[in-house]
């Protein structure tokens, strides 16, 4: 079957891969909280540098995840664009000063404060996205469910993630087969037709796909019940690993980043670092 994978587990020998899923999940959560809360440029730059080092250690290369990175970049650009369109003076408000660089039109002028605000927004995203992608690319999918369960998520919810990972490739394959067979009956999705026709045509593929997926769900849920899923309040995990020294170090480090980041951020009484005063 053709490879459709955009973002998936990439098995490589690296210390990041060796960490347990639980450690990586906690790291990811702490890291994200830190980056979300702070607008302190100094903290963000430090995190960016640390993130780059971790990325390096993980043996994952930029081109492995280039598609998703590209998508993230597009979103980031749009995000910045809309922030500017709706609140062109927000930076001025936050940093309580106004240095006009040049005017554009009407109420839209470019100020140093607004640019600095955008820099911070961008930094925040650039800090989180690579770590999020690393989390997915370096964690064996088999460990996802047990990691979620260990940090307190119900195992039923955790297992739903696992099942999605298990069956998405099957559904993709089925989609491909059905769409090929329907194309042979004159269903054209290549874009030559009008939008409405194309929408109508996609129903011809989706309907059989949905029917077969519903059927699949029935089989899977029967199979799970027949083997005792949901019997106890808890369950054990075949793929769960005990936390090693490095896991504790990673967790400790993430919590330290979070603590230091927040401490530095709020040292001046606000989430923002203000170089303009």
């Amino acid at each position: 079957m053709a490879r459709i994978a955009i973002l998936n587990y990439i098995r490589r020998p690296s210390p990041v891969h060796e960490l347990t899923g639980t450690a990586k999940l906690i790291f990811f959560i702490a890291w994200s909280v830190a980056a979300m809360v702070t607008f302190d440029t100094r903290v963000l730059v430090c995190m960016l540098l640390i993130g780059a080092v971790i990325f390096r250690i993980s043996q994952i290369r930029i081109r492995d995840i280039s598609v998703v990175l590209g998508l993230a970049a597009v979103f980031l650009l749009l995000n910045n664009l809309f922030i500017y369109l709706f609140t062109p003076e927000y930076g001025v408000e936050v940093y309580a000063s106004r240095d006009v660089l040049f005017p554009i039109v009407g109420r839209y002028t470019v100020t140093a404060q607004q640019l600095f605000y955008h820099l911070n927004i961008t930094l925040k995203v650039v800090c989180v996205v690579p770590i999020a992608l690393l989390f997915i690319a370096c964690t064996d999918p088999s460990e996802f469910a047990s990691s979620l369960a260990r940090i307190g998520v119900s195992y039923r919810a955790g297992y739903a993630v696992s099942l999605a990972l298990r069956y998405i490739p099957d559904v993709q394959r089925e989609y491909r087969n059905i769409s090929q067979a329907q194309q042979a009956r004159g269903i054209d999705l290549s874009g030559k037709d009008k939008l409405f026709t194309r929408l109508k045509n996609s129903v011809a593929i989706l309907l059989p796909l949905i029917m077969s997926s519903i059927n699949r769900i029935e089989v899977v849920s029967n199979a799970m019940e027949l083997r005792g899923f949901g019997k106890e309040k808890k369950r054990t995990w075949y793929m769960q690993r005990k936390l090693q020294r490095n896991d504790w170090l990673a967790i400790g480090f993430a919590i330290a980043v979070l603590a230091v980041g927040l401490a530095v951020t709020f040292s001046n009484g606000s989430r923002y670092y203000n170089p303009f005063v």
Partner: protein, 573 residues
């Protein structure tokens, strides 16, 4: 005698969603260590019995029951499905759906995880069970890296970890190639020997299950048990065909030859048959009398030629290696070989779904390389295995008309074409019906009609009869044969060796992406090396003819098929 582990007493069941009961007055006892085959045509209620035993009824499929059922001494209605799952282990027909874990190890461990077994103990049990079914070297593998037979081993191991007392198999052979099916039957036998569990197999492919000893056969029809007998006694009876099941081929052949089937004959297996000299002479006499049955083929011109085609989904793997063959106009050809040998890939290349990396495919001498899927579709039709994968309109008429809407045909032209197609397919009386009102076999016809309406010269069918009982099998195949007689060229991808022998004079054999043989269907199964390399299986007719001293088993099979066809026509007329 010991207590039965499963006991139905005057049991009846009606699904909540249905107007009338599915099971009537079932009386059935199954004892520990027994091996029982439950046979019956589609819709006979055999799968419902399975669901009663493993607790899906009433847990997942609610309904009303009468009479009494005890599983391991317990009433399923009062217990949870979990209690039952520790008594009965079920291997479902769809091993892909049953594969829940992301890897083999996780899947085998699934039941143990749910039981909160500590991890160390769990790893040990998984390792041991995996060894029992010979899958211990694949614990890290993901489902898509396994063959159908291997997935079934995983399913089996997954239910065996619970030390169940009953193993229930729901149509275990449906998705397997012939050799993998044979291995499965052997595996079930070994597992039973080691664990002493009672084994219940629900299957309509009688002959294949009988490859290993079966104690008892229960035959179902219309929700009732019509026979419950020891295997030997069961086979002496001629009731099978009346109930939509094909009896073992060697027994049919013996009957044709006038040999009475008695228990002393040891009829349960072709190799154990005790035929006297007189019996063998009867078979030989029948063979001589039927000389001249099965005629020769006429010379025709090439319609499809595949020339040195190679292809791989990824650059590292070659799914097809330098394949060449040609198909003549009006032929009916089988493409056979094990799962993953490249059969379906080939069909996709011919239809233009994928492009060959090298080589070319020609239709009536014209290179198809530059034709789009749509352009090819007007010449070459492709019918998927499961009709539900193709049907996308609620009404039969719309479904058949669909392919024509894309062209620029006038309304009258379209109407005429659809009517004509529906008539060919015997669906004209149903033209206003919703698709959902049809049986599986009729749905299959609708999908074929949806292809035929484009008036292709070639129709390619993927596993046209997979999972069908003998009645539906005959219905679909006779229909295809009728189409072939009207001039359509038909190519079938199949695992069914007797289908290949019965309906297609010629067979193309694939293994590991290579074309192994392109020869007569009868010859394919006569070449032991070929049979082994392609994961096929000779039919019991070969073994029978050899043991009767008939040196040309190909000819024996040919005459058998011709005789059977004449017999069938005689019955109808």
């Amino acid at each position: 005698m010991a207590q039965p582990i499963i006991s139905f007493k005057d049991y009846g069941f009606q699904y909540r969603a249905q107007a009338s009961p599915t099971l009537h007055h079932i009386n059935l006892d199954i004892y520990p260590g027994e091996k029982v085959l439950i046979a019956g045509a589609s819709g006979s209620g055999k799968s419902t019995i399975g669901s009663c035993i493993n607790g899906l009824i009433p847990y997942a499929y609610p309904g009303e029951n009468t009479g009494q059922l005890l599983v391991g001494g317990k009433d399923p209605k009062k217990e949870s499905i979990f209690t039952l799952s520790q008594i009965v282990g079920t291997v479902l027909q769809d091993t892909d759906g049953q594969f829940i874990g992301l890897t083999v190890g996780e899947d085998i461990a699934f039941a143990l995880e749910n039981d909160c077994v500590p991890q160390d103990e769990m790893k040990l049990t998984v390792e041991e069970t995996a060894k029992l079914v010979d899958i211990d070297h694949h614990l890290e593998y993901a489902p898509h890296e396994l063959s159908g037979g291997q997935k079934q081993r995983v399913s089996l191991a997954g239910v065996m970890v619970e030390n169940v007392k009953v193993l229930l198999f729901d149509e275990p052979l449906a998705n397997l190639d012939p050799a993998a099916g044979r291995t499965t039957i052997e595996l079930i036998d070994e597992v039973q020997e080691r664990t002493g569990a009672a084994v219940i197999i629900i299957e309509h492919r009688l002959e294949d299950v009988l490859w290993r000893k079966v104690d008892r056969i229960v035959l179902m029809d219309e929700g009732r048990i019509v026979a419950d007998m020891p295997t030997k006694a069961f086979l002496t009876d001629t009731m099978l065909l009346e109930h939509g099941i094909r009896e073992p081929l060697y027994l049919t052949a013996l009957r044709y030859a006038g040999v009475p089937i008695r228990e002393e004959l040891e009829p349960q297996h072709v190799e154990s048959l005790r035929l006297s000299g007189e019996h063998k002479e009867q078979v030989r006499a029948w063979y001589r009398d039927n000389e001249g049955r099965g005629g020769a083929d006429a010379q025709r011109r090439d319609i499809l030629s595949v020339e040195n085609v190679s292809f791989g989904y990824t650059p590292e793997v070659q799914n097809l290696k330098n394949v060449s063959f040609s198909i003549k106009e009006g032929e009916m050809v089988s493409i056979v070989g094990k799962n993953g040998a490249g059969k379906s890939t080939l069909a996709k290349l011919v239809c233009g779904f994928e492009k060959p990396t090298s080589g070319r495919i020609c239709l009536a001498g014209r290179d198809l390389s530059d034709d789009t899927i749509k352009e090819r579709a007007s010449q070459i039709g492709y019918v998927m295995q499961n009709p539900n994968q193709m049907i996308s309109k609620p009404l039969i008429w719309d479904e058949v008309e669909m392919a024509l809407l894309a062209g620029n045909m006038s309304v009258e032209e379209r109407k005429e074409r659809v009517e004509e197609t529906l008539k060919i397919c015997g669906l004209y009386p149903f033209r206003k019906w919703p698709v959902s009102a049809l049986s599986y076999g009729q749905k299959k016809r609708v999908t074929i009609a949806g292809i035929l309406v484009q008036q292709p010269r070639i129709i390619i069918l993927d596993e046209p009869t997979a999972g069908q009982d003998y009645h539906h099998y005959t219905e679909i195949m006779e229909f295809l044969k009728g189409l072939n007689e009207q001039g359509f060229t038909i190519i079938m991808i199949t695992h069914d060796m007797h289908l290949m022998l019965e309906y297609t004079p010629r067979a193309i054999v694939f293994s590991e992406g290579e074309l192994l043989a392109d020869t007569t269907a009868a010859h394919v199964l006569n070449d032991p090396a070929l049979v082994q390399r392609a994961n096929l299986k000779e039919t019991s007719l070969y073994t029978l003819s050899m043991s009767c001293g008939i040196e040309n088993p190909q000819e024996f099979t040919k005459r058998f098929i011709a005789y059977e066809e004449a017999h069938r026509k005689g019955q109808e007329g």
